[in-house]
Each structure stands twice: as structure tokens, then as C-alpha cells.
Symmetry: C2
Subunit: 221 residues, 2 copies
């Protein structure tokens, strides 16, 4: 299944649950509930008991898999970033001019945001966590990893942006980094205002993603 890679990554982080690869469904449930709680009430505002209650379980279950609340948050964050990365890199690898690639990347970004609001809202929150003091040296390593991935993510856009400028499909700008931050901001902001509506089909979502991406791309071409 598609989750294999993710599970393998968990292995090293989570209480030594190596090979199994199937019982881990229990962990996925925890992550889902945690993502919702963190999204609604923030990191500090969420208690482990809140997550447990939503699970219909108790703290025991959570601490059986995660060392600490911070580790739990990190894992949700990592999962969110992974989904974003996967979607965007796939869109990037499909070829075309810089502008076409950029358009697809932003669309993929937006669509992923909408399809994973909970996880991605946590990712957005996570930016602040940068200076959070309550971290063990061990956690700080993971945090640096996350910040690194975040930076790589942005660089992906910067890179393709330059490609586009090279092939003439993207306009020259005063500050590429600034332009990219603007685009990413417009899309990331969706994590804050967007909430799935009952009457929303996958097509509607896709259409919104295309619309948002289109406006942003138009600004730089």
C-alpha cells in the first residue's frame, strides 16, 4: 500500500514499532485525532486527554506509541509535510515549461491543503514552533529536520521559478524569494479559512485549486 514508506519512517521514531506494518492502523487513528485537536485548539491548547477523548480511549494508548506530546505533534507535522512534498514533486516532475510546471505545482499544493486541512493546519502552526523552548536536544534534531524540509519545499518553487525565467515563460522579478513567499502564502492561508463543506465534490475542490493557482501564476507572468 501507499503508506508503506511512511510506516517505515515511523519505525525509527515511535517506540520501536518496526516491521509489523499493519497494526499501525492504530497509530494512524491517533494521528488523525491529534491533527484535528491541534488544528482546533493549537499545540499548547490541546491536552493529551483531549486527543484521547476524541479517540474514545485514554492517555495510555497514546503514550504507548509516543514519547511525549511534542513528539506526537512532530509526527503530525511530518505527515502533513510529506503529503505536500509528494503532491508537489509529482506535479513538478511531469515536464513542460517553467510556467506550466509552476502552475501545476501550485494547484497540487492548494488541492493537498484542501484535502488534508487538519494535517496542513498543523504544518502552518508549526512554523511558530521554531523558537519553542520546550524541546529536548533529541527533539531539536527532529525539529531541524522539519524546518529543513520546509525550506526545501520552498526552494522547489524558487527553482522552477528560475527555470521559467530562463525559458521566458515567467516574468523577471525584483526578488524571486519574495514572489514565491507571496504565492505560498496565498495557498497556505487556505489552511486557516478553508473548511470542507458538505455539498462539495472533488471536482469543486479541484476547481477552487485551479482558480487560486491561476490568479497567483497570472501575477508572475
Amino acid at each position: 500500500m501507499a503508506n508503506e514508506g511512511i510506516h517505515r519512517e515511523w519505525a525509527s521514531r515511535i517506540r520501536g514499532h518496526e516491521e509489523s506494518g499493519h497494526l499501525v492502523e492504530s497509530v494512524v487513528e491517533i494521528l488523525d485525532c491529534a491533527a484535528l485537536c491541534f488544528t482546533e485548539m493549537g499545540f499548547q491548547g490541546t491536552s493529551i486527554d483531549d486527543v484521547a477523548r476524541r479517540l474514545g480511549a485514554t492517555k495510555g494508548r497514546i503514550y504507548h506509541y509516543f514519547r511525549s506530546k511534542t513528539d506526537l505533534f512532530f509526527e503530525v507535522h511530518r505527515e502533513g509535510m510529506t503529503r505536500l512534498m509528494d503532491a508537489v514533486t509529482a506535479a513538478m516532475d511531469a515536464g513542460g515549461t517553467g510556467r506550466e510546471k509552476l502552475q501545476r505545482m501550485v494547484e497540487a499544493h492548494a488541492l493537498t491543503m484542501m484535502q488534508n486541512v487538519a494535517y496542513e493546519a498543523v504544518v502552518v502552526q508549526g512554523v511558530h514552533l521554531h523558537r519553542l523552548s520546550a524541546t529536548t536536544p533529541e527533539q531539536r534534531v527532529i525539529l531541524n529536520e522539519l524546518m529543513d524540509v520546509r525550506h526545501q519545499f520552498e526552494q522547489l518553487f524558487v527553482q522552477v521559478f528560475h527555470e521559467g525565467q530562463a525559458d521566458g515563460s515567467v516574468r523577471e522579478t525584483a526578488d524571486t524569494s519574495l514572489a514565491v513567499k507571496g504565492i505560498l502564502g496565498a495557498v497556505n492561508w487556505m489552511a486557516i479559512w478553508y473548511r470542507p463543506r458538505a455539498d462539495e465534490s472533488p471536482e469543486t475542490q479541484k476547481a477552487m485549486a485551479v482558480e487560486v493557482a491561476g490568479l497567483q501564476i497570472k501575477g508572475v507572468t
Copy 2:
């Protein structure tokens, strides 16, 4: 002075400190420190003692002016929104085509974000506070006020957007609200990544604001 109006608003909120209008400097210091703390560590992550420590004072001083931590947060939030509102409405009232007004409004928005990162970062955080449960019925009234101002703020842009479409200076879009949310997102996002640098003059800031706004406006024209 320009703060008069704000002070008068405080009057009703803050432990009945009505007329004075000058000693309130003490309150401004508290708000400044609170804004910094909330920005760096979030609402729940900030303790009143943190704010007091940064002030070089103790809890006593803070609780002398504010009923609760939540009220303190609200006041910072309100101040941030007020500064945004003032800047944007001023830019709007200066006349011109829809597009010109929109351009100036977004520039003003961006510039205000940069000049008041601490306060505006709190405003950005505040969006989540929407569903926060830890509110007394009294606070909920204030919260509704804040959410209302936020909505009005967005409507300002929507309104001018339509003006622009009416006079032909702004392109027709599938969903005006969506377009505006994109623009505001790009600018609001600055509260997350932007931090003032030592070698930054007011002119540099202004230039960045114009650049960001330019890209966004170009997307809708």
C-alpha cells in the same frame, strides 16, 4: 494625539480607567510586551509571568489593568486590527480607479504588517481563537466583535474589487471572495515569515510592500 480614539475604547474594557488618557502609557507597554510574547510563544504558551518578566515587573501590574489573560490577548488583537483598518481605509478613501485603490490598499496592508509584526502576528493567530472554549459569555461578546471587524476588513477589499470590475480596471473572476482571500493570504502570511532586519530602512520596507502588492494585483487585472 492619534491614540485618543483607541484609549477611549480601552476605557470601557479595562478596569474602568476612563478619562485619564495619559498615564495609559503604562498600558501600552504591557500591550507591546504581550504582543511580543504571544507572537513568539502563542496564546496558551505565554504565561502572564512571561509578559511580566519582559516588562521587568510582576503579575500585579498586569492584573491591575486586565481582568484575565484572555482579555489581554483580545486587547492586543483589537489594537492590531485597528491599525490595519486605519491604514487600509485611509488608502481606500484616496480615490482613483478600483484597481488603483486596491493596489494602494494592499500596499498599506503589507506595510502595516511589516511595521507591526508583533501585533499583526497576534491578529493572525487570533483567527483560530474562534472556537476556543475558554471564554466567558462576556468575552464571547468581544470575540464576536473582533470576528466582525475581521469580516468587515475583508469586505472592504471585496467591495473595491467590485468597483474595479465595474469600471473595467479589474478583471472578472469566477469567485470574488476567493480572489480576495488569496490576496489577503499572501499579505497576511508576512506575519509568519517577515521579521525586521537591522539593515532595513523604511524605504526598503515600502519597496517590499509595493512589490508584494504589485504581484497580487497583477494577478487580477
